[in-house]
Amino acid sequence: MVVSKSDLKKFFTSIQSEFDVFVPYETEREVDNLVIKKFDPEKEYVLEKYRTVDPVRTLYYFPSESVLPPSPKDKKRIIAGVKNCDLMGLAVLDDALLKDNFVEPNYSQWRKNSYIISCDCTDALSTCHCVLLDNNPYPIKTDDGDALFDINLSPVNNGYIIKVGSRKGEELLQKIKEVCSLKEVTVQDKETREAQRAEVRKKVMDINADFTPDRNYDVISENKEPSVWKEFCVECVQCGACTNICPTCYCLILNDESTKEEFKKVRSWDSCQLAGYAEVAGGGTPREYKWETFRNRYQCKHNFMKFNFDKLGCTGCGRCISCCPAEIDLREVIQSLQEV
């Protein structure tokens, strides 16, 4: 089915009583300027282009919130304009926070209450590198089970091809149909989608022409030579921006805010890049030096998470590169290791 742009906006406007709707808006910055905000019918949103500044994780896993008792989540949400790199991030978080017998109470509620309308990328930033991770700048639904999106949109002439990815997506489509008049997808629409997807993929490939797509991540842990890592981390100021903005980082600290009457636990983001992260009461730490702390993020994303979840913890969104005050480029670090 194809929905027109104006109809989709009509749908978002009409559904606000039932759902909190979040969409990306452009800010005044020239590039990397999309910010997810609450839908405002008076303003023009942007579903396509590229990823938002903050990862969608921030809408599921707040910087600080009560886990005991869990913070209330009354209203359902629609989060629109999510890109594939963020969907891949949620896949890692699902493995980390919903598996085993231990289910993160807030994250699981948000996952249940939120509906994702993703969108193909139509442009790329200089830091985008999903293709180096075998990902694409658009999500695909495979035959087995639900996709990571509920509905995906592929832009075509003044509208979007709707692809349903899950049962929640079916539910959403019914609601869209109540407000919008949908058209059948034409052969030309499909051709437009495929051409557009190929073009963006090529754009991301071209951006990353200097980097080898076939990367060996084992070298990150195997390379125990401090001098290599010491060189990489010279300019790192250990601010933790790279982890705070990562779509797959979920490290937490827990604070006890209990009273005599009630136990209350509050969890907040932590960062392995901050000093003292792994330090125990006696003062011991497994990562004594800055280069070890610096290397830990690379090990965690490419070695540890791969072992823990059989998925890489890097989705190629490139946010850690965009936000680094020292202009450290994760792609260059990994590339250099290939050549050591």
Binding site: L68, V103, P105, S108, L254, D256, V280, A281, C300, F304
Partner: protein
Amino acid sequence: MSDKNPYDVLKADVLEVIEESPTIKSFYLKPEKPFEFATGQFIELSLPGIGEAPFTPSSSHYEKEKMWVTIMNAGFVTNEIHKVKKGDVMGIRGPYGRGYPLDVFKGKDVLLLGGGVGLAPLRCLLQTMLHDVDDYKSITVCFGARTPADMIYKDQIDDWTKYKTVAHLCTVDNCKEADNWNGRTGVVTVLLDDITIDPKDAIAVVCGPPIMMKFGTFALLDKGFKASNIYLSMEKKMYCGFGQCRHCVMGKYYACKDGPVFTYEEIKNEEKIWD
């Protein structure tokens, strides 16, 4: 997917506090309902408004109504816990992690090598094994402390050694004449010179400060214990206790979820396990 909140806390009344040494106290707790755990697993013990930290209970896992927890004053939270008095309320959540595989230990010679407050989890294991003492070929308890005053559980040795298959050896790093210490002196590994069990198929369980765990493990290997038969109770910084805060990650493993009990064989290739 479980609907249970993994952060749920059980209230526990403090029934008794014992000063074991100048830096170590034991707390006798009564949770609001019986608390099931397996020896070697740990709990997060919280002091309302202050914080929480991971500890392994030091009483048998057959004792479900009440539990002992032995705690060294080593940092902010434990310093506050040491101010707790009889009648106060604490919080318990858990149990978490993988404990000691008692089925593997059964029928074998089991050596417990402990140092300092590391005796706490070993006491839990020992009390649990004593419940079924005939299931084990023998139990050798080798405990070390810095000085005679730092040696905890001294008054319980007779209870342990009344079984003919249980032996107890202890040493202190150093002592003064006034201490009236008749036992051995030297680090805990000196006790390995005195053991009589055949290390080939024996189980060794090690718990103590990192440096003691490291050299204890190496001494056991020298003695002929197999890496796959040496069980280590690993301690790392932890918040959640169930694999979500990532602070305790040791390479591929989580100390909380995959441990805290590991064989040396399992983790010997991970970096910096002793730090």
